[in-house]
């Protein structure tokens, strides 16, 4: 490779990305990242940070003072929340209904938790009663739950779970990576103690930053583990009584000091990614929660109509299906990976494969954020139809796109 790299400028092919994420970023977010740097303690940069926090409070519908960004992917936000909340030996209940429940379990174990799981069949979610029983039975210190799991295309209704947790003295953590910007999230109303997400799905940004929000009671628990590193301790500093958090980078106590009015030195904030987060939130709020959610529902209805018009079957429990990812069964006799490859090489379109028990059975088509647009649905349906015809699958040619257009036309009236 020596020598050649000098010529190898960055020049990736254009793609229509309709997988489970990352998807395409809004051009306004991409442009925001080209904004020149600011010093990390420059008053102008602190102002950008504060405005980003304020906007994410609105996105999450919360008054939580402690709403801040983790510099890392969505998984970094999960780990920051869990490693800061979980004291080694704590019991953590993970209700699992897809791949990302496995991830919460895995991270909680590495934080030193005693993890208890309950499992639901992929494609379904938990009834509130079942969660109540499990919480009463296991008396966990923390309940860690995925909101929407792209692996199964369904979303767990959250209303009522926070209250159940509080009644039992537990803290509720929610991974909202796949729902933020697409499904409603009401952090305060639903009494969520800690939530994290990402920019790269419904918020039309790049992966690499995770907005986190903490309730007052979560803050109190984490503050009790405050151990500021030597060299940056403020005057009058007293360490918390709880055990030191196992990670420095993900120590939310120190991150609160960094994002708070004292701006105690910690990591060097990821300037360009903060610009991206700022723009993601601004664009979302400009369109407005309800308009954004309605757009996702309308796009999903059109996509579904098109897929069904091709004779395909939608996966999962429709009552709890996510509006932004659609699982569709790969029809018998069709090589699912060959169709995906054909979409990429002939059309430059990416759709998703699937994990675990669904691997080889369904494709996943993502319609989130900037990608959730009429033209993308129509282009994707036409291309998928062409690849299915090429694969020898019998379908009523031309009907998918017409069916989708009908749904859009109806919604526009």
């Amino acid at each position: 490779m020596t020598g050649n790299h000098l010529a190898a400028e960055l020049n990736p092919p254009p793609r229509l990305i309709m997988g489970p994420g990352p998807l395409m970023a809004d051009p306004r977010v991409l442009r925001a990242m080209a904004t020149p740097m600011l010093g990390q303690f420059d008053p102008a940069f602190l102002d950008v940070m504060a405005r980003t926090q304020a906007m994410f409070r609105e996105v999450y519908r919360t008054q939580n003072e402690q709403t801040l960004m983790i510099d890392g992917s969505a998984r970094a936000g999960i780990e920051a929340a869990l490693v800061s909340l979980i004291e080694p030996g704590d019991r953590v209940l993970v209700p699992m209904f897809g791949r990302f429940g496995h991830l919460l379990r895995e991270i909680a174990e590495r934080c030193g938790a005693e993890v208890v799981i309950i499992e639901q069949e992929w494609g379904k979610v938990f009834a509130l009663d079942d969660l109540e029983k499990a919480i009463k039975r296991h008396s966990p210190r923390i309940v860690a739950l995925v909101h929407a799991d792209t692996s199964t295309t369904v979303a767990q209704p959250l209303e009522g779970i926070g209250a159940l947790c509080r009644a039992q003295g537990a803290y509720l953590y929610v991974d909202a990576c796949a729902s933020i910007g697409c499904e409603d999230i009401r952090v305060d109303d639903w009494e969520i103690d800690a939530i994290s997400s990402g920019l790269q799905k419904g918020l039309s940004g790049p992966p690499g930053m995770s907005p986190v929000s903490l309730s007052e009671r979560a803050v109190k628990r984490i503050r009790n583990r405050r151990h500021v590193e030597a060299g940056v301790r403020p005057a009058g500093y007293v360490a918390g009584e709880g055990p030191r958090i196992r990670s420095n980078y993900f120590d939310l106590s120190m991150l609160m000091d960094y994002w708070g009015p004292d701006h105690l030195n910690h990591h060097t904030e990821a300037t360009s990614m903060i610009y991206a987060a700022h723009e993601c939130a601004r664009i979302f709020l400009q369109e407005g929660h309800e308009a954004v959610f309605a757009r996702h529902r309308s796009v999903e209805a059109a996509l579904r109509a098109g897929l069904e018009a091709m004779g395909l079957t939608i996966f999962g429990d429709r009552a709890v299906k996510m509006s932004n990812v659609t699982g569709v069964f790969i029809p018998g006799g069709v090589d699912g990976d060959a169709v995906r490859k054909g979409l990429l090489t002939h059309f430059g379109i990416e759709i998703g494969t699937s994990f675990g028990p669904l691997h080889g059975k369904i494709w996943r088509i993502g319609t989130m954020g900037y990608t959730a647009r009429k033209e993308n649905v129509l282009i994707c349906l036409g291309a998928l139809e062409a690849m299915l015809l090429k694969a020898g699958f019998k379908l009523p040619a031309g009907e998918a796109v017409q069916a989708a257009i009908k749904v859009f036309d109806k919604a526009a009236r």
Copy 2:
């Protein structure tokens, strides 16, 4: 804030950033971040990742196969290296000669290490003999060392330390955040087992990504702790015998699987930041190691000449002074913070304050990467002179800039 945020577009003031970092990013790096997204397993994206790895091998002057990026700030790279190398109970030796030694100690402690420190006065570095004695005396499993510490403006010469470590069965980790792209780093020649850095100083990029490289023996040690998370385990998977790494996000064993030919699912790679890293490395290699280092030395010589012409005194042991950060004593009777504030508000120029024992005693002026340019030195000197005159400090007006120009002219001949 509700309502107002819609109008609050991102519009930060232009700055000439000459602190210890982050500094200004090269406009080519900023533009690279505006490149549209790719799916994380798109062959075109895997190619960008592979080329980024290949270029960072050259930047680090290593053949290490395991050269990869951590999605997070420079501190994230430190934690990934240490949490993956340190097994709880391991003895870790941290030779401390500035603020960032405190950070290595802090992170190593949180990883469960028994940390032993040796300390050197701020502004000086360790003699190889002293390091040898300490390594022999304490028999550490890991030696964790800062290469260049912006807090003291000096760099620890690294040649010979790796051999000392290997002779005693220890692993050498180096934090090269402040030296990469400015001072020579020879990972293979110097037998460094693990190294991490960042983009936001000498590499002219934004903070938020940390290039890491691991020697074969470090890889072997970390592979022995391989515990792939449930749901993504490959066929024939057997867990390593060593203890599971305490972090999921920073588990270099899983990160090697993610960056390697199998591309096992882990986090969602930070697309725009990879584009930035790719461009940072490309720009650096295009100019060439030796030319970049010479540019930094020439800029530093001119800055120093200008500061001395004002009657100011340079901080630190000149024999080991970093070429990219210059500490200068705040003259008696001058309010250091008022001068810094004046530079920012009148000129839009940021220079650095200092930490710990140097707080209030020196300013730190950074000249790294894209910022290490003749015009920036001259503008900064002129502005500092003006602020010192305004503060009532007596100096030979006009001479600083002339002295610096003379150095540049001489270097250009």
